[in-house]
């Protein structure tokens, strides 16, 4: 009886697995099509019936993307902006989150609510005043102009405070009794324990900054100060009939993010499921 049930369950699992695999293939197909098309010539991309795998394999589309446009500069800019603003955000957020979570000071809760409320303001609303500030600092067409506004966001504080809250206060108290300073407690005890949260914040913010379009567009106005997303978008708008060339541009923009996701998947999932378990 029990064996029969197990066998039945196994069969159901197989069916479900087949369905899951089918949908996984289905959702991966656009990516497959994007990458393989970028190695075709223009006519082959629109051929009917389509070549499911490139019959003629060419690197020329990539060569064109990198030779016609400063794509390496754009990629470098994107990497610097995403990495530096993410590291800076982590430092600033961790300090603020620790204070909100563990320190006692007057108006803490109100201050935290104000912080969190800022999350409700869409970034688009702040574009013009923010642009004026950046302009007054002479940071238009600079990477720092793209970086600084990304450091001052409340999301990191909100996320990391959740992690610090889960760490027992007794650890801090014990360290204090042992004579540790507040900063020592922060970086020696609390930070290592909040590592999963920092990882999640890193990946979430990195993805967000990498994919940011509007702010990077208005700050990076000269060709050499554009980021990859903005630069590649100009390729897409070009009235160029060569779809393979555009696919190559889109692949260049997508690959770094894909790699980041593959390597940091654990943290990414952690970030998404944050707060879902008790």
């Amino acid at each position: 009886m029990f064996k029969k049930k197990a066998k039945k369950r196994e069969k159901i699992d197989i069916v479900f697995n087949i369905i899951v695999i089918f949908f996984a293939i289905l959702s991966l197909f656009p990516l497959y099509w994007l990458v393989t098309s970028s190695f075709k010539n223009s006519a082959d991309v629109v051929k009917m019936p389509p070549d499911w795998f490139p019959k003629t394999f060419t690197w020329s589309n990539y060569a064109d993307v990198f030779s016609n446009q400063p794509a390496f500069t754009w990629a470098y800019n994107s990497l610097v902006v995403a990495l530096v603003s993410t590291f800076a955000l982590i430092i600033v957020s961790a300090l603020a989150a620790y204070a909100f979570s563990k320190l006692k000071f007057k108006g803490k809760n109100i201050l935290f609510i104000i912080f969190i409320s800022s999350l409700m303001i869409p970034k688009e609303v702040m574009i013009v005043p923010l642009f004026r500030i950046i302009q007054d600092f002479g940071m238009v067409n600079t990477l720092s102009g793209m970086i600084f506004p990304n450091v001052a966001t409340a999301f990191g504080v909100f996320l990391l405070k959740g992690f610090f809250d889960t760490i027992p206060d007794s650890l801090r108290e014990a360290a204090k009794i042992d004579g540790a300073s507040e900063f020592k407690i922060f970086y020696k005890i609390m930070l290592p324990l909040a590592k999963p949260g920092i990882g999640a914040l890193f990946i979430l913010n990195f993805v967000q900054v990498w994919n940011d379009y509007l702010w990077q567009l208005v700050v990076g106005q000269s060709k050499d100060s554009k980021t990859l997303m903005v630069g590649i978008a100009t390729l897409m708008q070009d009235l160029n009939p060569n779809f393979a060339y555009k696919m190559a541009g889109a692949t260049v923009a997508a690959i770094p993010m894909l790699l980041i996701f593959i390597f940091f998947q654990k943290y990414f999932t952690k970030g998404i499921t944050l707060g879902s378990d008790k």
């Binding site: 019936p49 610097v80 590291f87 002479g138 208005v218 100009t234 009235l239 160029n240 779809f243």
Partner: protein
């Protein structure tokens, strides 16, 4: 371990941040230039992609900014009143309004913008541009026909210096016509063929039925698109096919009449008959252009620059080669429906008198210098002198000139034209998906469009 890594990370970030902040370049073109001393003036010249090269796309290193960088270099050398530095930036068409609006709100508009007038007219209505009547002299007025001056005049003032024009037509694949047995409808290689509406319907039908499937698999007779506002001028032309007046003398839309509904009904009819690509509501003009160049469409929209680019792409092997020719958009009356994009430079009101004056001088320089104006041959020159000089080299100049009597002003120079463009394509999407009838489509467009125009009129400095 983690502590060390964190500290290293923090230090590295701090170092990079301070380095980056230190490297921050001063934004050029800001009001802090030394304009009062009359020594240093920094101008920002922006343009959307127009043509590559100084005079020709075949030049080595030809790019969209080549001409303007060359003009800027000469201006910097030849200008005597101030020591001028001109920075040229190419802005993608889709990014233009975002960049301009943020910079206008930030008080740092560019000094000069080179673009199609229709895309920039709203900035004149908003008071963001300065009139340039004072740099237009009699020599220019005599060399450039009045209809181009009308195109760049808002109220009583000239806001753009006409440089070239870019007439919109159809492009067709003569080889596909031949394959469908339509030889008698093929025009000359240097002709803009005019078909009657009845002939055009016959052409579409024959292409649908007779195009050999083995050679042109997955091909359709005509390109139709309504995904966004790109290329909407052709859709506006189709709506005039049955003789609609479109704008009345007060600048109000008057499309909601029998002729307007007939035109919308015609668009739906050819769509339903399968004479166009499917899914027009989710297809953009860029897609249609690419489909045409990949021989999936026999007839598509084009303009002089797109046409030249398409031929250049074919010559260079970037796109499949075929016999591409031009035709007019047909109408029920038999007269061609013709429109043109006048391109030219405008001067923004930067609130800095010196910069505005130098900007005007730069615009005059690039728009009148005998050598520089030759670059207008990349589109169609607005200057008769340039047309004459290059008509032997480009026989289409004469063909475009022959269309001049049929040119309609598609914007009506009404305020709020940019927003008006946002109203049309959702109505066309509703038409193609069957959510609205032809009558409802034109009614919806007129009602919503006139609301946009009224609101824009209230804010227009020209209507005040």
């Amino acid at each position: 371990m983690f502590k060390k890594r964190f500290l290293t990370m923090g230090l590295a970030t701090g170092l990079v941040l301070s380095a980056l902040a230190g490297c921050a370049e001063k934004e050029s073109g800001n009001s802090d230039v030394d304009s009062d001393s009359g020594k240093e003036v920094e101008l920002r010249v922006w343009l959307t992609p127009q043509w590559k090269g100084v005079l020709d796309g075949s030049e080595e290193g030809a790019d969209y900014d080549s001409f303007f960088k060359h003009a800027a270099e000469r201006f910097e050398k030849e200008y005597k009143d101030h020591n001028v530095n001109v920075n040229v930036e190419v802005v993608a068409g889709d990014q233009r309004d975002e960049l301009l609006n943020v910079n206008l709100n930030g008080g740092t508009p560019p000094d000069v913008f080179f673009e199609s007038v229709f895309a920039m007219g709203d900035y004149a209505h908003r008071g963001a541009l300065v009139p340039i009547n004072d740099i237009v002299d009699d020599a220019a007025k005599n060399d450039i026909a009045q209809n181009y001056w009308d195109n760049v005049t808002f109220g009583d003032d000239v806001y753009f210096y006409p440089f070239s024009q870019n007439p919109g037509t159809f492009a067709y694949n003569a080889e596909m016509f031949e394959a469908a047995g339509l030889e008698k409808y093929i025009g000359g290689e240097e002709e803009i063929k005019t078909w009657t509406l009845a002939e055009y319907e016959e052409i579409l039908k024959a292409l649908k039925e007779n195009l050999p499937k083995e050679k042109y698999s997955n091909a359709y007779p005509m390109g139709l698109f309504a995904l966004n506002n790109q290329g909407d001028t052709w859709n506006l032309a189709y709506l005039r096919m049955f003789g609609n007046q479109f704008f009345d003398k007060d600048g109000q839309l008057v499309i909601n009449d029998e002729n307007g509904a007939k035109a919308a009904s015609w668009m739906k009819k050819i769509y339903d008959a399968g004479y166009t690509n499917p899914g027009a509501e989710s297809v953009s003009s860029n897609d249609v252009n690419a489909m045409f160049q990949n021989q999936q469409l026999a007839i598509s929209f084009t303009n002089a620059i797109l046409f030249n680019n398409a031929k250049a792409d074919m010559e260079s092997g970037k796109a499949p080669k075929f016999d591409i020719r031009l035709a007019n958009i047909p109408s029920e009356s038999g007269d061609p429906l013709s429109f043109t994009y006048v391109t030219g430079a405008a001067v923004f009101d930067t609130k800095d008198e010196t910069r505005i004056q130098v900007s005007k001088d730069f615009v005059k320089f690039m728009s009148t210098d005998p050598e520089l104006v030759k670059a207008s041959k990349n589109g169609v020159p607005v200057r008769n002198s340039v047309v004459e000089e290059f008509s032997a080299e480009n026989p289409f100049f004469a063909a475009y000139a022959a269309n001049a009597p049929y040119v309609f002003n598609f914007t009506g120079n009404v305020p709020g034209y940019s927003q008006l463009r946002q109203v049309l394509y959702p109505e066309l999407q509703a038409l193609y998906t069957g959510a609205k009838t032809a009558e409802e489509t034109v009614e919806g467009y007129q009602t919503k469009g006139n609301q946009v125009i009224e609101e824009a009129k209230a804010n227009s400095v020209i209507y005040k």
